[in-house]
Amino acid sequence: MHKYIIRYAKRGDAKFVSHLDFLRLIQRAMRRAELPLKFSEGFNPHPCLSFAQPLGVGVCGEKELFEVELTTACDDIAERLAPKMPRGIEIVEAVPCEKNNFAKISRGVYAVRPEVMPTEAQLSAFMEKTEILTEKKTKSGIKTADIRPDIFSAKLGEDRILFRLATGSTANLKPQTVMQALCEVTDGYDCGFCRYTRLCLTDENNNEI
């Protein structure tokens, strides 16, 4: 088995490509690169690809990852794949890997650049809350959820806020939800239009994957 982990960045307009469309896009790019893809067994074979936690529509990603299985070893995957990508998707590197690395992903670091920045006091007041209730649309209707436990840290920069948020299969919080909550609970604050970037994915000890 020849398994590789591929790191890539999703920037610019490519952030509007949904996860489902992105899956298809990568499959087609792998075919264009003529990599010796391993296909699944069965009547409808598809390439063996697995993706880390999906990026939401409208969110850029700096260090995103997916894994691919090939039938033979290949040391120029990144070189072959890079020119086969549409605008805005950059292949950073491809490294051989052993087991599945994505199970341990539990957090993501997000940079949010709002039109209007909150003050230090506003952000601290937000983080000092023990409970932040938000409404979440689910299949069975609107549910109220406490998002505070899913925000691990928040740091104010010059023109951006850095959030460390739950990102994984057990708990997942979108930065858009956080900004919406921040505006709702903070009197007189409206962030306006925000740009979102996921900087990296980490395990529960904040180690980058």
């Binding site: 610019g12 307009d13 490519a14 509007f16 490509v17 949904s18 469309d21 298809r24 896009l25 499959q27 087609r28 790019a29 792998m30 075919r31 264009r32 003529e34 296909f39 009547f43 409808n44 074979p45 529509v57 409208g58 086969k84 990508m85 549409p86 605008r87 805005g88 239009f193 740009r195």
Partner: protein, 607 residues
């Protein structure tokens, strides 16, 4: 700002461009900026092969940067207006009014309001006469351009027939004109001399009540009749070896490989079968080489063969054999639309699908033998039932049957024949031994309403009114019932309006303008189609729909006679007479019927 707009709409990838295979150039490096405009959603427009061919073809030119624009959906249209932003091209995002030339693709009449709406969103005056020297040239082509008159007020010139050579000649002329500094009229006079170009402002129609008496040239540069262009040798003709691979799923999300143009069959209702004559094939060698390049360059997991009738490709067994060797190795699936169901095609399907058995589609078009002879469909009830037996025997459970109502010389007996035939198809499944636990068969009969089209033997016929169609739809439902079959039919009002514009004349221009003003757009989309608004537009303009749906005198001048599609009026008349008598005409390979297309001396006519 653009980013904000995109964040507010449902499917932003419709508007961002940048897909793999899209072409980017520096606008400053080119002399000609062209925008291909498709008057429907991105997903529909990007599924149209003609648009893809011409996009890549024009971009092979060093002097030209060809971009794309589509009709924005409601949410995007609202955002554009709210943000005071004009409609833009996907690649450069420059407003359409900054281009040298816009080319609209006309594939169905119900997209005409979108043509006007796209101009309005681009802040370009709708009427050619109001555009003056500053605005881009607006041209249009596609199958609907074979009756250009309803859009004559809005389009500067039409490109009639196949576009590969014609577009290049027009761009050459544009480059020369741009250097000359002459007024726009000089360019129009030049292109009017190119075979296949129709400049409506150079022609004057004369009317007598409902009738059009003539359309005559009023400029010495304009020919009396504009002859359709064709590509003589398909192997030498440009076909893109790479294609754009969209982000989101589009309607036809696969490689489309065009096998041949034209159709040997000559069904009398079918416009495509008349206007794309003569039949010209690409060689299997050429197709295989194109397939290979396209599979490698696009990464698509599916390839589809495109033509009016796949089964009529002369070397189909050899070609599909070789193609399957290629697709199986690359794990690419092969789609074969419009395949006749016979033993060969079943073997083929078996090899293609191995296990997954989806539905099969079959088009008897009419319910009785008399009616099938009237329309020259060339198949018998036994053919239909045998195909069904083969399909059921091959394990297929779902069969979709296509029919039409409102055909000329149709009786209620013919209409009732549709559900009766569908029922007989159901019954053939009972001839097979019952297997326990097996799913029963399901037949769907999809019944559309016939619309008489220009350049066909039925171009003179009266179109059924919405009431007549509804009567017939009632008969469809009441004749025979079975749990194993479903009958679907279409909105009859939409068919009436489609018929009005299909056989329309220049006087419909003001109706179209009024309808757009009233908010009509995306008329082909049921959630948008608003017949009452259309009625209001017709009344406001003092134009009657009946003027256009009526039967035409056999000797009456028809507005599309200004276009010569290669098939003679004498042939169409003869075909109409044979239809009335229920006589069939053999296919082009069996015997030449002298339609006129042999004047090109190519393809099936040359063999």
């Amino acid at each position: 700002m653009f980013e904000k707009i995109l964040s507010a709409v449902q499917k932003p990838t419709r508007y961002i461009g940048g897909e793999y295979g899209s072409v980017y150039k520096n606008p400053k490096d080119v002399k000609i900026r062209f925008c291909m405009c498709f008057p429907d959603l991105y997903e529909v427009g990007m599924s149209h092969l003609g648009m893809r061919i011409l996009y890549h073809l024009k971009n092979t030119r060093e002097d030209t940067f060809c971009e794309r624009a589509f009709m924005p959906w409601d949410d995007m249209m609202e955002e554009l207006e709210k943000n005071d932003m004009p409609l833009f091209a996907l690649e450069s995002r420059d407003p359409l009014c900054a281009f040298d030339m816009l080319g609209f693709s006309l594939q169905y009449e119900m997209s005409y309001t979108n043509v006007l709406e796209m101009l309005r969103l681009s802040r370009i005056p709708l009427k050619s006469a109001d555009r003056g020297e500053a605005f881009p040239f607006i041209c249009a082509g596609g199958s609907c351009a074979l009756n250009p008159e309803p859009l004559a007020d809005f389009i500067d010139f039409f490109l009639i027939g196949e576009g590969e050579e014609l577009n290049m000649e027009v761009l050459d002329a544009y480059g020369e004109w741009k250097d000359s500094g002459k007024p726009k009229s000089a360019f129009l006079e030049t292109v009017a001399g190119i075979e296949g170009v129709y400049v409506p402002s150079f022609y004057q129609p004369a009317y007598d009540g409902e009738k059009v008496l003539s359309i005559t040239p009023v400029n010495p540069c304009a020919p009396a009749k504009v002859k359709k262009r064709i590509i003589e040798n398909m192997d030498d003709c440009f076909f893109p070896e790479t294609q754009i691979v969209p982000y989101g799923e589009i309607v036809h999300d696969r490689i489309s490989l065009e096998m041949f143009r034209g159709c040997i069959r000559g069904c009398r209702f079918c416009q495509a079968g008349m206007i794309y004559r003569p039949v010209r094939e690409r060689s299997p060698e050429k197709l295989l080489s194109l397939a290979k390049s396209l599979m490698e360059s696009t990464g698509y997991e599916e390839i589809s063969l495109l033509s009016l009738s796949t089964s009529d490709y002369t070397e189909l067994p050899f070609f599909t054999e070789k193609l399957l060797d290629m697709t199986e190795e690359k794990k690419i699936s092969l789609a074969l639309p419009s395949l006749r169901i016979d033993n060969f095609s079943m073997e083929l399907m078996q090899r293609i699908q191995k296990v997954r058995k989806t539905g099969l589609t079959f088009a008897p078009e009419a319910g009785t033998q008399r009616m099938r002879d009237v329309i020259n469909k060339g198949i018998t009830e036994e053919d239909v039932l045998n195909s069904a037996r083969i399909a059921f025997g091959g394990g297929y459970k779902n069969i979709k049957l296509y029919f039409m109502i409102g055909l000329p010389f149709e009786t209620m007996e013919d209409v009732a024949g549709i559900p009766l035939l569908a029922k007989k198809v159901v019954d053939t499944s009972f001839e097979l031994p019952k297997v326990k636990g097996e799913k029963p068969v399901q037949i769907t009969a999809s019944v559309s309403s016939f619309v008489p089209k220009p350049h066909t033997p039925f171009q003179w016929e009266a179109q059924n009114t919405a009431e007549e169609l509804r009567e017939k739809q009632k008969v469809l439902c009441e004749t025979v019932r079975s749990k194993r079959m479903t009958i679907n039919y279409h909105e009859s009002k939409l068919s009436v309006l489609e018929g009005v514009f299909a056989r329309g004349d220049r006087r419909l221009g003001k109706v179209l303008e009024k309808a757009v003003e009233l908010g009509c757009r995306f008329d082909g989309w049921s959630e948008h189609f608003d017949f009452e608004k259309w009625q209001e537009a017709f009344i406001a303009c003092g134009v009657k729909m009946e003027t256009y749906t009526r039967e035409r005198d056999i000797d009456e001048f028809l507005p599309w006679e200004v276009i010569d599609c290669g098939v003679s009026k004498a042939f169409l008349k003869k075909e109409r007479e044979k239809a009335e008598k229920g006589e069939v005409t053999p296919n082009c390979r069996a015997k030449c019927s002298g339609c006129g297309a042999s004047s090109w001396k190519v393809g099936v006519c040359h063999a």
